[in-house]
């Protein structure tokens, strides 16, 4: 574990590895995920989905379905309020009401294979499925636009007839929802100064977050106009706001209770089944549970964009990057909102490049509306930039780690969008890789290669609330609104325990519903430990301040004369009445000194903690099949401060393996009609235990200035480097530069055979 160069305070609890508080329930099967909930009289819901990628809905007939014994309700978009094409406030950022509602239940058109058209509630899931077959939908099938190239061509099928973009004006139908541009310096001049220029075009396939738990929701509508949703989500307040908007009900009438969540990675930040569960419950007067099958998850939730990226970069012979010209188009899916803007802002983020022009296009296609996937847009971007940089380093004859150090951004360097970085740890991650046992080891053997890549992610702040309750026995409960996707409860309990001098076993973390905690934004954006941790820290400090006042009362002193040292309240001057007290001792005296003590805090920080990661992988390629075996992988990531190092390592390892899957095997296969053909986990091929080596981690800690604990946010950036690192490793293994993801065996084999044929032709010509 690399040490940070700045002075580190010593902690008692933070940095240790206690067993997580929710662990017992998770290993015994007691923990309740959304699909585990059951209520008396509960009905089961299923969703009818479009079999066409693009079609007008001429009519929907639900009579036969309603007549099936056991069916209690059938709903379509006719049961939802009007949804005009305008932006409305809903959750963190305004959304287009028509797009939001139409993705829940289609209106005049279906826009992708799997688009929800109707929903049924029945006394059993089997009956509900039978009922789906009895719903008659008359479709007028339209040709689909399935790639950014096809969608951007003149005369392309138009996905959303009302879509306009600012550049083409109010009269032009288009599939291009947005164009962003970032520039610096003089591009033409920059390229004339370059000694080496590399230009390549990359294509990446649409991929899915791949969480093992499908979406779920149980909706319970009370006769009083209030409803409750139990669901697995990354953001209860977001679900509440978005669902209330779609349903046309006051947000305050909806309560969202977070079930445990079986993975999200960004895909469970949005709504699908939640408003349907309430809609069906309202119609039937009974609780309704909806779950998705795996096929529905793949067809009809939010994968991330496939993309086309043209990347041209120039460097001087001493290894300085001098110019970059990038054109990138990402699939938005059926509605605007791909992460192309984020991709454009991160693609060259780790490097000081004086001249660049980046054009980014958000393009509609007849695929599901994309949702966030762990550092959205960044892995696609890094594939392009980090492999071009690898080629430039090769041409300059400079080691890839050194090349990165020559060009690295540091504190004060401008970001792509302009503002200068504050203290960051990119250089430290490259150094950590250089000094790692992996990098220092020799890789020998035919068809073996080593590749390195770096990545960046902004991380966000947003809003969090926390309360810290001091119980009369001196134990503490910490109440947060952040859903726990993988160890968060432990981290928050540790922060409170640290501040209050409590034993970690005496602190109970609680993830609360939307009525029981103040507004808290989503678990995502690498913000949870950062912002909720900040709130818990401040709430614990608030409790501490109140406890000092109580001690002061008991000791007949002023609060400023009470110190808190080594877990004890001690007087700053000796006094008869002032005997040092532990938290437990003072907790027993709260009733008589003013009543219960509850610490509270809310935060909405202006500071954020941008994160960098550098990853190195060793691969072996089978030249006869194109299969790639990952032999070894190491990731170095700047996490600011690792609260619970085991779960920090877990984030680094998990993102690395997702990135490897993205690199080697995962992709959506659509046929000529725009229908998804690999709707199961056999053919949507994610890494298994047998595919992976142990993932070595180097935790770098460069604290975020301004954060009370220096936390930076850890969840996302680990997924950014791997596709490029694997591509670079393959290039060094077999001398082939892959520019398409995934680098699956058929593609790799084709490239190997082409190279062999080209070599043979060359050799023959030389004879």
């Amino acid at each position: 574990m690399a040490a940070s160069p700045t002075e580190k305070p010593s902690f008692r609890v933070i940095g240790t590895r206690p067993v997580r508080h929710d662990g017992f329930d998770k290993v015994t099967g007691r923990a309740k995920y959304g699909a585990d909930y059951s209520f008396p009289g509960m009905l089961f819901g299923r969703v009818l989905r479009s079999p066409h990628a693009h079609a007008n809905i001429k009519s929907i007939n639900i009579e036969k379905a309603l007549a099936l014994p056991g069916v209690k309700a059938v709903v379509t978009s006719a049961d939802l309020p009007e949804a005009p094409d305008k932006m409305v406030a809903a959750g963190e950022a305004p959304v287009n009401l028509n797009h939001l509602s139409s993705n829940v239940l289609a209106r005049e058109k279906v826009l992708y294979d799997g688009h929800a058209v109707a929903a049924v509630a029945a006394t059993s899931a089997h009956i509900a499925e039978e009922a789906l077959r009895l719903i008659e939908v008359d479709y007028e099938v339209l040709p689909p636009a399935m790639t950014v190239e096809a969608a951007m061509k003149p005369g392309a099928p138009i996905v959303l007839p009302t879509l306009r973009n600012k550049e083409d004006g109010p009269d032009k139908q288009t599939n291009v929802a947005n164009h962003m541009q970032f520039t610096r310096g003089d591009l033409a001049e920059g390229f004339t100064q370059a000694d080496f220029i590399v230009e390549r075009e990359f294509k990446t396939a649409m991929v899915h977050q791949g969480y093992i738990e499908p979406h779920n929701a149980v909706g319970i509508y009370g006769g009083d106009g209030h409803a409750t949703i139990y669901c697995s989500t990354q953001g209860t307040f977001n679900v509440r706001a978005l669902s209330a908007t779609v349903l046309g009900m006051p947000e305050g009438n909806l309560k969202v209770v977070p079930a445990e969540i079986g993975g999200g990675f960004g895909g469970k930040l949005v709504i699908y089944l939640e408003p349907l569960s309430v809609l069906l419950s309202r119609k039937t007067g009974q609780p309704v549970k909806l779950t998705m099958s795996r096929a529905e998850v793949l067809r009809a939730t939010g994968p991330t964009s496939g993309s086309t990226i043209r990347c041209k970069m120039g460097a001087t012979k001493d290894g300085k990057l001098i110019a970059a010209e990038i054109w990138m188009a990402y699939e938005a899916g059926a509605f605007p909102g791909s992460p192309v803007g984020a991709g454009a802002m991160v693609i060259i983020a780790p490097y000081m490049i004086p001249n660049f022009k980046i054009d980014a296009y958000d393009v509609l296609v007849n695929r599901p509306k994309t949702a966030a996937y762990r550092a959205p847009g960044a892995s696609n971007a890094a594939l392009a930039s980090e492999t071009v940089i690898d080629e430039l380093a090769e041409k300059c004859g400079i080691d890839p780690a050194e090349f990165r150090l020559i060009n690295a951004v540091k504190e004060g360097s401008p970001q792509v969008v302009g503002p200068p970085f504050k203290r960051i740890g990119f250089v430290e991650t490259v150094e950590a890789i250089k000094n790692s046992p992996h990098y220092k080891s020799k890789l020998e053997g035919p068809y073996r290669g080593r590749g390195m890549a770096s990545g960046f992610w902004f991380n966000v702040g947003l809003q969090s609330s926390a309360t810290v309750n001091i119980h009369s026995d001196g134990t503490v409960s910490v109440v947060i609104g952040s859903v726990d996707v993988g160890g968060q409860r432990a981290a928050q309990a540790m922060i409170a325990a640290e501040v209050l001098g409590a034993d970690i076993k005496d602190v109970r973390p609680v993830v609360a519903d939307t009525d029981s905690i103040g507004h808290t934004d989503v678990t995502g954006g690498s913000r949870t430990c950062f912002t909720t941790g900040w709130a818990v820290h401040d709430a614990a400090q608030d409790a501490l301040r109140q406890l000092k006042e109580r001690a002061a009362k008991l000791w007949e002193m002023k609060p400023e004369e009470v110190l808190f040292e080594n877990g004890k309240f001690v007087p700053s001057r000796p006094s008869e009445k002032a005997k040092p007290m532990t938290l437990k001792e003072i907790a027993g005296r709260l009733g008589r000194t003013g009543g219960p003590v509850v610490g509270r805090a809310t935060v909405n920080p202006r500071t954020v903690g941008p994160a960098f990661a550098t990853t190195v992988v060793d691969v072996e390629v089978d030249p006869d099949t194109g299969k790639v075996q990952v032999l070894r992988a190491t990731i170095a990531q700047d996490v600011g401060k690792a609260i619970h190092p085991a779960y920090v390592e877990g984030q680094m390892q998990g993102g690395t393996v997702q990135g490897i899957g993205w690199a080697l095997n995962e992709e959506y296969f659509y046929d000529g009609k725009g229908v998804l053909r690999n709707t199961g986990l056999l053919d949507y091929r994610m890494p298994t235990c047998l595919d992976m080596p142990l993932i070595e981690t180097e935790i770098v800690e460069v604290p975020t200035p301004g954060h009370p604990l220096g936390i930076r946010g850890v969840g996302e950036v680990s997924i950014v480097p791997p596709p490029a690192a694997v591509a670079n490793a393959i290039a060094h293994a077999i001398g082939v530069r892959m520019t398409q993801l995934p680098m699956s065996p058929p593609r790799l084999l084709k490239a190997i055979l082409e190279k062999r044929a080209a070599n043979e032709t060359q050799a023959a010509a030389a004879d």
Partner: protein, 163 residues
Amino acid sequence: MAKKTVVETTINGESMEFLCEPRQSLLEVLRDELELTGSKEGCLTGDCGACTVILDGRAACSCLVLGVEAQGKSITTVEGLASSAGLHVLQQKFLEHAGLQCGICTPGFLMSAKALLDHNPTPTEPEIRYALAGNLCRCTGYDKIVKAVIDAASTLAAGSKAA
């Protein structure tokens, strides 16, 4: 709707009887009829292993077994791992090594690992990876899961030597 059948099995050491339709899978029966929701649904096609139980001594995807096929068989689910004496060594090691993040795949992994160790108490790392290849995890990258099983195996082996 077909008539329901009475099925007699042993689940987690207890004799149990349940009613089910022929079309209901064992997974569905466990979760919806018997309220044993520890086994999870991830794919219903036997690809993710989240529904793994031990059926007559072998790890099996309960989504691929019909409820009626359980007649006369012995089933262990994750609910049957711990005893009144405490957690099973595997469960303990998963916690100590942080071999879970969201936890949805954990019951399946625990059952596959138990089935492995019941047959092969001293597996190598490749043997562990092979035995667990049918269980998908998207959060951990498998590193800490493998380490937990390695540690559990050696702890159990040491314990049985001492016995």
